[in-house]
């Protein structure tokens, strides 16, 4: 018996030894694997392979259990029937790993003896029972190794063997995890670095947002991530970027009720990370669950300048998020905050640069002596572009009425006059001298820029102050959305910058207008003198000449000293007529006022010692315009005679596209300069006052061409 027992014992010892050898070999292979730096998953897969080989159940599962109560199947081997690696289960189903989790000790279940949905599930899948053993890593419960049986009975010895093997797995898993942790850390750092590099390269804010969402999603195993910008009133926010299977589309504006129980409300309340593992369990309202069907979410605040700027969140449709998601998101939130501070600084610089460019364009327009209307239109256009909102430029006239001088999609067109009553935005700007805003409030009347129908949802106006007086204002408005925060500052800043340009344009226009008035008055005086002389002295003299001629005829037969005296009188009178004609024509030819530009220029060219090719293609124009054009031709032809050493010239006058063009060209010596004589300088003045342009092309040796373009609608604002 004893021999048998001894033999039996030896057999058992031999079998035990063999198992120990196998187990030792299995552990060595796992250790070698871990030492080779295998991926975490590779180590997990090897564990179930080795355990299956060693213990031989239908299904061997390695389950990671986090203290929050979620179990993740990290590796399976055998007849899985529906379970897959990566499956996450809440550890509340009364199954074997729940028991291991709760007791921290090996556990055995026979599904036939059990109730609960986990048991039902297992039976449905054809399993009869399971044995689980805890795996501790670094002294803490990490998970469990679970052997499940289908038809075969689970031998009693399995409990101990499984427990022994599981106990020995700790170091291998710890090694794999440490390495994985290191890799994760490297991944995280690399992701952060990628985002940081993007920021350093000067990416746009939208690029930054997208990169943060993408990189964060990658780091939390591809879960959906959302970057949310909180509204200034903290009652909602705008989805700036998403990645993975995110729940809420980019561009969605969320409204978060005060009693919301979701993570966004929690983050707003506490400025701290928040998590909801199972939204269906949340009592009360939750937009995330009610509106978007989110199952689980975790998020962290993004703080900028000590303000809660927004948040970064991860969410799922159906399973709890792994632990530690917040920690990973947190790093991105911090980086985003820093990058935003950086990019906010740069955005400020960019905004400044954009403003400067806009201002420069307006200033150039002013320098080119553009009409105030054109300058105003440009200002409204630039401001509208800067803010990407409809814009009006409004002037306050002497009777405190608002006059729209330029508009880009604004509620009123240029030319509109608007009374400024006390409860309007415009009145507030005038009263405070500062930019102001009016937004539509629930229950209140829509904000009005001024006394006029056509209300906006949101309007901002900024004063334009010239010489200590409010000249007018720039007004941005939207009928569709609230103007963004900071619009007051930006518009105010631009209005300040633009005031100088407006002052310049106006004073220049005033100068031009007064010069135009002086010239017009002078021309009017010329015409009057010419008319007075023509109707008076010249008429009398002509009458005298004619009478003397008749007298001479009557004396024809008489002769003698009387006839001689009449001859002498006639000669003197005739000379006086001619001289007076010349004087009057020099002031302004009667032919110009009576017969128009063509007659005027014809009367001019007849007396000149030049062969002139004259082409005049226009009807009667305004007296001022005809006079200006006449002087262009007269001064230019005088210069040809005086300086060009030419014997021929051409004059071409024609109306084309709202302008009168006057061109005088010769084939003389060229080299004429604008400052050369008073005549041409006077012309520049005259044409400037008429709102026209004058160019003189005069290369030495190649003749001179004077070209004037005059607007048909007359001089600049008078």
């Amino acid at each position: 018996m004893s021999t048998e027992r001894e033999a039996g014992g030896r057999e058992a010892d031999a079998a035990e030894l063999a198992r120990l050898v196998e187990q030792e070999a299995a552990l060595r292979r796992l250790a070698e694997l871990a030492a080779r730096g295998a991926e975490r998953q590779e180590v997990f897969d090897a564990i179930v392979v080795e355990a299956s080989r060693l213990l031989g159940p239908s299904l061997m599962t390695l389950v990671q259990i986090d203290p929050g109560g979620t179990a993740t199947f990290v590796a399976l081997r055998g007849s899985t029937t529906g379970y897959a690696s990566g499956t996450r289960l809440a550890a509340d189903g009364g199954g074997v790993f729940e028991r291991v989790l709760h007791s921290g000790k090996p556990a055995r279940v026979d599904y036939a003896d059990l109730s609960g949905f986990r048991a039902e599930q297992a039976i449905q899948r054809g399993f009869s029972g399971a044995v689980g053993a805890p795996i501790h890593v670094n002294g803490r419960l990490w998970g469990a190794l679970v052997a499940s049986a289908r038809e075969e009975p689970l031998p009693l010895s399995l409990d101990t063997r499984l427990a022994t093997f599981a106990e020995l797995l700790g170091p291998a898993i710890a090694g794999a995890l440490a390495r994985a942790e290191l890799l994760d850390l490297l991944d995280e750092q690399a992701a952060l670095r990628r985002v940081a590099e993007l920021v350093a390269r000067g990416c746009s804010q939208q690029e930054l947002f997208q990169a943060v969402a993408d990189e964060a999603s990658r780091l939390v195993d591809g879960e959906g991530t959302t970057l949310l910008r909180l509204a200034p009133d903290r009652r909602g926010g705008l989805v700036l970027a998403t990645s993975g299977a995110a729940a809420v589309p980019v561009g969605t504006e969320l409204t978060i009720p005060d009693d919301d129980e979701g993570i966004v409300a929690a983050i707003i309340r506490n400025r701290a990370p928040a998590r909801v593992d199972n939204y269906p369990d949340v009592q009360g309202t939750s937009y995330a669950r009610d509106d978007w069907g989110i199952a689980s979410a975790a998020g962290v605040p993004i703080i900028l300048d000590d303000e809660l700027w927004g948040l970064l969140a991860a969410s799922t449709w159906d399973h709890p998020l792994p632990k530690g998601v917040e920690q990973r998101l947190q790093q991105f939130a911090e980086l985003t905050g820093a990058a935003l501070a950086n990019s906010a600084a740069r955005a400020e610089v960019e905004a400044l640069a954009t403003e400067q460019a806009a201002l420069r364009r307006v200033a150039e327009l002013v320098a080119r002596a553009a009409k105030p209307e054109d300058v105003f239109a440009a200002i409204a256009r630039e401001a509208a572009q800067l803010l990407a909102e409809p814009m009006m430029l409004v002037r306050i006239d002497d009777s405190d009425t608002l006059v729209v001088v330029a508009s880009v999609n604004g509620p009123s067109d240029p030319g509109w006059s608007i009374a400024m009553s006390s409860d309007t935005l415009a009145a507030e700007v005038v009263r405070t001298g500062r930019a102001a805003r009016k937004d539509e409030d629930a229950g209140e009347e829509a904000p009005r820029f001024a006394e006029r129908p056509g209300a906006s949802l949101s309007a901002v106006a900024a004063p334009i102050t010239i010489g200590g007086r409010i000249w007018g204002m720039l007004a941005a408005s939207s009928a569709e959305h609230m103007l963004p925060a900071g619009t007051e500052e930006r518009l105010g800043q631009f209005a300040e910058l633009i005031a100088v340009a407006i002052a310049n344009a106006e004073s220049r226009a005033a100068l031009s207008a007064s010069r135009a008035r002086v010239l017009a008055t002078a021309d009017e005086v010329r015409r009057r003198i010419q008319r007075d002389v023509h109707d008076g002295a010249q008429q009398r003299l002509v009458h005298t000449v004619l009478t003397l001629k008749l007298a001479r005829e009557a004396l024809l037969d008489v002769g003698g000293p009387a006839a001689a005296l009449v001859d002498e009188s006639l000669e003197q009178a005739q000379r006086a007529v001619n001289e007076m004609s010349d004087i009057v024509r020099g002031i302004l030819p009667a032919a110009l006022t009576r017969g128009g530009l063509r007659a005027g220029v014809e009367s001019l060219v007849v007396d000149l010692p030049l062969d002139i090719d004259l082409r005049v293609e226009c009807d009667r124009l305004s007296l001022d315009l005809e006079t200006t054009a006449y002087f262009v031709a007269a001064e230019s032809l005088t210069n040809v005679v005086k300086h060009a050493h030419a014997d021929r010239a051409s004059v071409s006058i024609r109306v084309e596209g709202g302008h009168l063009g006057v061109e005088v060209a010769d084939e003389g010596v060229g080299g004429a300069q604008r400052t050369g004589g008073t005549g041409i300088t006077g012309l520049f003045d005259r044409i400037d006052a008429a709102g026209g342009t004058l160019t003189v092309t005069s290369p030495p040796g190649e003749g001179t061409t004077v070209c004037a373009t005059l607007p048909l609608d007359g001089a600049v604002a008078s």
Partner: protein
């Protein structure tokens, strides 16, 4: 006795002194001055009433100018010859007068001379 080859002439000028002297000259040449007018309005009125075959028209008139009047006179549905005169001898007036449809332009100082006399008497 042959009927005189004279014209029936309307003299248009706002200066009555000049009209007097012009009438004397025209009559001395055997023309009949059927009317005298001091403005564009009077001239048009008398033309319709008196049907002159020739008009002597000053450029400067209080209610318009002689070129304008010329254009309106030559546009009438019966033949009417217009001679434009002015105390301003500017040759540009000649071109403008021709374009307006006048048969000629003469400085007032020259209307006693042979050029004007010939132009007045010429048949078309």
């Amino acid at each position: 006795m042959m009927a005189p080859m004279g014209r029936s002439v309307l003299v248009v000028d706002d200066d009555t002194y000049f009209r007097d002297i012009a009438v004397r000259i025209l009559q001395s040449w055997g023309h009949e001055v059927v009317g005298q007018a001091g403005s564009v309005g009077e001239a048009l009125e008398q033309t319709l009433e008196l049907r002159p075959d020739t008009a002597v028209v000053d450029i400067g008139l209080p209610d318009g100018d002689g070129f304008d009047l010329t254009r309106r006179l030559v546009a009438l549905p019966w033949p009417l010859r217009v001679l434009v005169i002015s105390s301003d001898a500017d040759v540009a007036n000649e071109l403008v007068a021709q374009r307006a449809g006048a048969i000629g332009f003469f400085p007032k100082a020259d209307i006693s001379g042979p050029g004007f006399r010939r132009a007045l008497a010429e048949s078309e």
